[in-house]
Each structure stands twice: as structure tokens, then as C-alpha cells.
């Protein structure tokens, strides 16, 4: 991931998205590419994408804001996604999530004060037969309990 402190220029944004311009329905792949590069959708991307795809800026903004994945603000150094769906609930997922949030002193979507971890809700990781489950930076973890969650948290705060 590139340095987040500096907003990317129009040229830099174009460089990330232009290789995808030939796709059918290129906007989502472009947004994913931008977020993979910068950790968020840079503010300057909206006019670039609007211009490139012949869309209104409002339309581009509307697409970005529709999807849970796309962010306009940075996350912590790690992202912990805890599943809130039914199968995880049936195995005590709610209590585990509440205890984790309390331990970290954040609410859903919040980032710890030290910037180590952002906690997001997620609705189903397809790990319903080994619930409760979570995903830490793209790595899945199943059959969680407070002890295993504690180990994950120790990892991100180390």
C-alpha cells in the first residue's frame, strides 16, 4: 500500500484505473484497484472516473456510497471483520463480538485509539459449520472463542 499521507494526483489515479478501461462494466474493478492501492477511494478519484466513463460525478459517488466495501477514510493498520450472521449467532457470536468491542473500546466500524485495528461487521464468511468466524486482513478464522480472539488481538497490537 502506498503512503496514505499524500493524496494521489489525477495522473496517479489514471495510471491505476486505465489498464481496466477496456472491460465491460469497468467501474467496480476500478474502484477495487484504487482501494487496493490506496487503502481507500481517494477523493480525487470521483472526477477522474466520471470523466473517463462519461458519467456524472453524482453517479460515481452514488456507486461508491452504495457498497459496504468502499471507504473514503483510512482504516487502522489491521482490519478485523467479525461475522454477525445467524450461524455465528447460534454459536455465541453476539456475545463474542460484544466482548471484543468492549475489550478494544470501540463500536462497530471503529478504530482503536492506537490505530492498530478497525473492527467491521461482516454478514457471512461461509464458515457457518465452524462458527463463530472472523477475518483478519483477509485471513479467515473459525471456531472462535474469547481465548482465540484474544490471541488474534495480541497479534494485531504487537
Amino acid at each position: 500500500m502506498l503512503d496514505r499521507a499524500q493524496a494521489p494526483s489525477t495522473e496517479e489515479i489514471r495510471e491505476v484505473v486505465m489498464p481496466l478501461a477496456g472491460l465491460e462494466g469497468p467501474l467496480l474493478p476500478m474502484l477495487h484497484a484504487l482501494q487496493d492501492t490506496y487503502g481507500l477511494i481517494p477523493e480525487g478519484a470521483v472526477p477522474v472516473l466520471a470523466d473517463l466513463l462519461n458519467l456524472g460525478r453524482a453517479e460515481v459517488h452514488g456507486v461508491i456510497s452504495f457498497y459496504h466495501d468502499f471507504r473514503d477514510h483510512p482504516t487502522g493498520r489491521h482490519v478485523l471483520k467479525i461475522c454477525r450472521a445467524e450461524a455465528c449467532q447460534s454459536m455465541g457470536g453476539n456475545a463474542l463480538a460484544a466482548a471484543t468491542l468492549k475489550k478494544l473500546g470501540v463500536d462497530w466500524h471503529g478504530t482503536t485509539a492506537d490505530g492498530a485495528v478497525t473492527v467491521e461487521p461482516i454478514y457471512c464468511l461461509g464458515l457457518c459449520a465452524c462458527a463463530p468466524a472472523a477475518m483478519l486482513d483477509g485471513r479467515v478464522v473459525g471456531r472462535l472463542d474469547e481465548d482465540r480472539m484474544g490471541k488474534l488481538l495480541a497479534e494485531v497490537r504487537a
Binding site: 467496480l28 452504495f66 466495501d69 468502499f70 461461509g126 457457518c128 459449520a129 479467515v140
Partner: protein, 505 residues
Amino acid sequence: MKIYVPMDSAATALGADEVAEVLAREIAARGIDAQIIRNGTRGMIWLEPLVEIDRGDGRIGYGPVTPADVPAILDGSAESLGRVEEIPFFANQTRLTFARCGVIDPLDLDDYAAHGGLAGLTRAIAMSSAEIVQEVADSGLRGRGGAGFPTGIKWKTVAEAAADQKYIVCNADEGDSGTFADRMIMEGDPFTLIEGMAIAGLGVGATRGYVYLRSEYPDAIRVMRAAVKIARQRGMLGADVLGSGRAFDMEIRQGAGAYVCGEETSLLNSLEGKRGVVRAKPPLPALEGFLGKPTVVNNVISLATVPVIFEKGAKHYADFGLGRSRGTVTLQIAGNVKHGGLYETAFGLTLGEVVNGIGGGTATGRPVKAVQVGGPLGAYMPVSKFDTPVGYEEFDKNGGLIGHAGLVVFDDSADMLQMARFAMEFCAVESCGKCTPCRIGAVRGVETIDRIAAGDPGAADLLTDLCETMKDGSLCALGGFTPFPVMSALTQFPDDFACQKEAAE
């Protein structure tokens, strides 16, 4: 010696990567001549990580394995599960769609072909478009994504539509809690989905395909992308599919965390780069789908089942099943259950046989209270309905739906009022906003359930009325089916809704 360690994300979520690492280290240290193969999962998730060792006389299973167990397994002193194929949970299944899943290396196309892969596509290449569509119709295959629409009719509509470009779109936005069959097949046998899409392309005259795969499944995305690349290199995809002179190619597209994009029309909008808002039907996607062109939109399991239908013949497939539910159903047994996992079998087992017999009851050992069948939009079935056979029509008659055949088991500690509230809350969070009954109704639904919880005597009737409106007035299944879990909780578990009221009185 061959050693199999699954790379399926359920297995890696339970430590399979660590086990594989220690195995590799130990093998090297001991100088053993062994090959580690990262296979898919056999679907017995309670045994994961399930390590299999083949010393030349069958695959012997060990599980769940921790890194500390590795030395004893290599010594032969660890207690084994015996031959994996003889474990009753596995042995009693009818594996058609999942025949190769857990058996082969998912990204080894030769291994795939050695286990019956490509036979279906090869046969389809020798058939006319109309014959291909007829074969699917004869198999009785119905959409496994939830709606159960006959696949052959959908294909016929697209095949008969005239257009310069047609598309095959695979709906891999498996967002329903309790379902993981799509993820499992994409991670465990990705070529079968590719083969199914290629056959669909030949059948309807489509040369391009897309898999819309949810971002919550990074491992499946990685495996599918790698498989498509290999398929293209080996001539299974491209301008000349297996030397047929006909073209079909495909791409994997990543979703962006919107549950509603599992609905086919919002999926198409999303694929086009728009907000994932539901489209009104008609026009059907079969006539005006992706970019306005005729499009087959099928679920992963529907498409992944097509190769075996062509390999073994439509009749072989249709001979399994019950009534108008032909073939096999890929049950996903999940939640608070002892033996959770994927169980492929002919339609017709009863719900109770699945939950108590195959699933072995709850993981906690407490009595079963409810089973939610078909995801967040499916009804909560009480134990009194356990004699309902698993079939589309049979579930419908009992106020439920099979959906994608995911079952989430709850023990008696479940609070059904809270589960009903969650269903409404989920609908409110995930509504695309296009139609009012869903967008506003779900928010009012949460409030009304809170009023019931607070002891408001009139709120239950209001909730019933609201659910009627959502059911009748919503454009798609999100708003239209949220009343299933809500109303089933209210009517089948009245005690959970009454206690607060009585306390207030």
C-alpha cells in the same frame, strides 16, 4: 506417500496451513519420500483440518489435526478415522456435483480430467444447441440459488433470443448465512464451474461469461482466477474451446459487500458498474440482462452440476429425487450442530433426519429449538415440522423454503424475538432502497418488534400487517421474504414474544 491437507477456507480457518507447514518440515527432517497435496474439503467440517495419508492402500484420515499431532501421524502411531470414504457421513452421500471436491488438487486440470472432468463438455461439443438445452431440461435441474426455477426453460429462452452478443453470468454472491456450497466447490473443484459455464455458453450461443463473486470470499476469488488462467492456457476456454471451433471465455468479478447483489437483477446492475439496485421484471434477464443482452444468470451449484449431467446423462441425474425436485440437493448443515458440513444427497430426506440423524443434534448438546432453512430470508422451522421432506414443494406447503439448502441449527437458548428483530435489522441494512415496503418497512419492523418486546399488546398484529405489505409489495426477495423468518418466529415460537408482555401486564 501422498499427504492431503485441505486448502478450503473452512480448513484454513481451523489451522490447516499451520498443519501443512509442520508436515512439510517434518517430512524434510525425516527424509521421507512424500508429496503434500492441498485438496479441497471433503465437507466434514467438524473433522477439519482433516489430513489424509495415502500409503498406496487408500486414503486414511486423521482429524481434527493440530500441528502437535503431526509427528504421531507420520509415525503411524496416531489414532486414525480409517478410510475417509468409509466414514458414514461421507459414505452415505450421493456425490454428483461434489464428486471431485476434496479428492483432487483443485488446480490440477489433468487430475480433474482423470476424475471425469471434461467428459461433459466433450459430449456437449458434439451436440447441437437445441440438444444441449433439451438435455438440461430432461435432467429436471432447477436453480439451486434459491428460487428453484427450471434451468432448462431459462436456457431455452436465452437460446431462442436473437442477439449479437449473449452472456452467461454465474451468481457467486453466496451471502446467505448457513450456506457455503458455492464457496466449497469454487475452492475445491473450480474447473467444474468453468466447464458448466462453457457448456451453457455452447447451449445458448453465448461467448462470454462472468462469475460475480462476493468479496467476502478472498480465497475462492484467488482459486477461481487461477483456474480460469489455467483453463485458458490449456484451451478449455478461449477462441476454440477444446478444439470445437467455438469460442467461450470468462472473467471473475469481485463484489463489494452488498447482500442484495445476490438478487439477479441487482447483480447485473452491479456487474455493469452501477449501484446494486433491483430492476423491475419484465424484461427478464434472459432477454435483457447484462448490458441489455440476453443473459443466463445461474447459481454456482446449478452451473457446477451441468458437467455431471452431460457426463452421466440427463436420465441418470433425474432418477434421483422426489416429485418435481430432481437430482441431488447440496445440504449445508451449519450453526449449532455437532456434525456440520456439506452433505449431498437425493431430495426427499426429512428435516429431522438431516438435523438429528446426519447432523447429530446440537454442538452444545442442548435440545434443538429451531432450524432456519434457506438463509436469512428462510423460515425458522420448529421441531414439530421435522417430518417435512426436503423438496421445493414440500417445504413450500409447510410455510418454508429450501432456498440454497443451508440449515442453521439453534439450541433452546435462542431467543426467537431477537432472531426476528435481526431479520428486520438485516433487511434494513441491506435494502437497496428501490422499493418502499423493503426500505421503510424493515426499519418499522425493527421498531415494531421492539414494541412487542416492551409489552405493547397491539404490536404483534401491526407486525403481521407490516409483513403482509412487505411480502406483497416488494420488488425482490429481500423485502418479500424477510417476513418468512419474522412471521415463522412469531407464529411458531409465541412464548418468546409473550413473556415480556405478560411481565408488563
